[in-house]
Subunit: 353 residues, 2 copies
């Protein structure tokens, strides 16, 4: 059973349609037709071909097929990071949805580096990807690159949006969510609010911060905002300094605007001996499973990631293989609402504070 050994002595080439055709005494056209389920093949021939192909271990070369048909069946997915639940969950849904329609996913991870982002988009063009799901990490998005190319593939901006208003976008209403979180905290009586946020070049960051500030503003409150990285360790350090002041002046409520930030903040608060929510309330964004497992569990605003993945897939599919002559339609912007989930990490401020 050591069939998977790496290379028999002569490195036999993979069989091709030619090989199958020759072995069965038919033409390559017949083989191709039989395997692709064309109606113009007799049942007898079809079965003969199927058997022959299986016997030789034939697997069609989809590169050749793609070349001939001018359709690669590839979709590019360009994300900053698969380690964050926010992207991972969404990618997962997208992958399923696209697979169902016969597309394969090429994965690019940019680490939010604009060069890597650009390189990856180029690669996708070269692979003749039929569509691209893009989580942009710059304000321009893919527009400048795709501008120079004839008939570029359709792009859906996902989770974040660039400022060039040319691509379809599928994003959640993070602004509204953050506003609700602010309202929620203020209703408890909090007055000194702070936000720990990622880099402000991402629309997600700007929306979360903006919404939270708006919510506070409506009640005449100021918010201390600290921009940084989407990173556990950064938030950990930043929270330590932010909460170092004495109980009368430091914030009584914290918004960690991303799931990676929540864990960093929690660690810092725990190290400072501050109890949540007795000493300080903490609210987050996104909703990974572990928000429920924490003690206390984390109040948060959750985007409908599953639904967003589906909508993105649908949007892209609509652009990729339009049936018939569809009217040309401008960029579609889907803004999906999320859900405020109140759990144990938010509560009234301490009496003395």
């Amino acid at each position: 059973m050591d069939t998977n050994d790496q290379g028999s002595s002569a490195a036999a080439p993979r069989p091709t349609v030619q090989d199958v055709a020759r072995a069965l005494g038919v033409s390559t056209a017949t083989v191709s037709r039989a395997l692709s389920g064309s109606p113009n093949v007799s049942t007898a021939t079809r079965e003969k071909v199927m058997r022959g192909a299986a016997q030789l271990g034939y697997q069609p070369n989809v590169l050749a097929r793609a070349l001939r048909q001018e359709r690669s069946s590839l979709v590019g997915l360009v994300v900053p990071d698969v380690r964050s639940d926010f992207f991972a969950a969404a990618s997962s849904v997208l992958q399923r949805a696209l697979e169902e329609h016969g597309f394969r996913l090429i994965l690019g991870i940019t680490g939010d580096d604009p060069d890597a982002d650009r390189d990856y988009l180029v690669t996708l063009l070269q692979h003749r990807a039929e569509g691209i799901v893009h989580v942009p990490c710059t304000d321009e998005g893919a527009a400048p690159l795709l501008g120079g190319v004839p008939t570029p593939p359709p792009v859906v901006e996902f989770l974040r949006q660039s400022r060039s208003n040319v691509a379809d976008t599928v994003v959640s209403n993070e602004r509204e969510g953050a506003r609700q979180l602010a309202e929620h905290l203020i209703a408890f009586g909090h007055r000194r609010l702070a936000v720990l946020a990622g880099p402000d070049r991402f629309s997600t960051t700007r929306d979360r911060v903006g919404g939270f500030v708006d919510g506070a503003d409506a009640h005449g409150l100021e918010v201390e905002v600290r921009y940084g990285l989407y990173d556990h360790d950064w938030t950990h350090r930043e929270t330590l300094t932010l909460m170092a002041g004495d109980a009368e002046t430091r914030p009584t409520a914290l918004f960690a605007a991303g799931n990676r930030l929540v864990s960093g903040a929690l660690q810092a608060l725990s190290e400072l001996g501050l109890r949540v929510p007795a000493d300080v309330s903490l609210v987050g964004a996104d909703d990974p499973d572990w928000f429920r497992g924490c003690t206390p569990s984390v109040t948060t605003f959750a985007a409908p990631l599953e639904q967003m993945g589906l909508v993105a897939a649908q949007t892209l599919l609509g652009r990729m293989r339009p049936k018939g002559r569809q009217p040309r339609v401008g960029p579609i912007h889907a803004l999906l609402g999320g859900q405020l989930i109140v759990r144990g990490s938010s509560g009234p401020p301490a009496a003395g504070a």
Copy 2:
């Protein structure tokens, strides 16, 4: 600036080498040579071609290139789930390492469904992937499928290993890690131990459970083992029933053998009003950031995921494009050691228990 609009009126085809050649009055061979950096092109010509190509927005069709050169530059990555840190972190490293060598990643997500797994491997064969990184979800792995195909691509089994001893494997020593966790708990004085584990068809599960049981066995202790799913909700429910007994008989220490399981267990313990580690100690596996943020932070055994990704990439690269005539070498099995990380969730059992 609406360059990215979806299709100008005539759907201009993408330019090819032919177009570039014609536009410049040279042959396609010259264009190809110039762009691929062949030494046999005059500097003047090279620059002319570069400019012309850029001007037309030419992007080489890598499908055609792959067909001609018989090398796709694609590597398949087949994982059960990208939402788990365990896989996400490893995938991330792998992606970087392989990109550096000019390979692109095709991503398959199987959801631990053997059929999806098989389908995905077939797809990779059809794309002429030059190598496959496989997290198998069955004991056979990829062997039965690849057995029928001439010169199959090299496969590295990653994180889990199948029982067919034909592929290279890169796994962590989960067995030893689990043994250490058992020792750790027993040293505190725990006598009633339980394990919540994923499905036992995965080598990871078997190793973790096996190691833990071995560790207990060395001290003449029994372990209650519950197999289930790698899933927050399953663990949540299971922990509720497992810990329902009274304080004299229920386990005093719990091993949640996977990061998804830890969050489920924590939630259940919290709902039962059991304090960690005062009433019950909890130890986990893997080490996502949030293990540090939890209250208490989670004691765990962490595999060196970064390193494993690198080793897997190296192993695969060694098989894919061997320089010169390398001696044919049998399957390589890399077993990497991890680290016991003691944090706040483990401690001595309650005095009365």
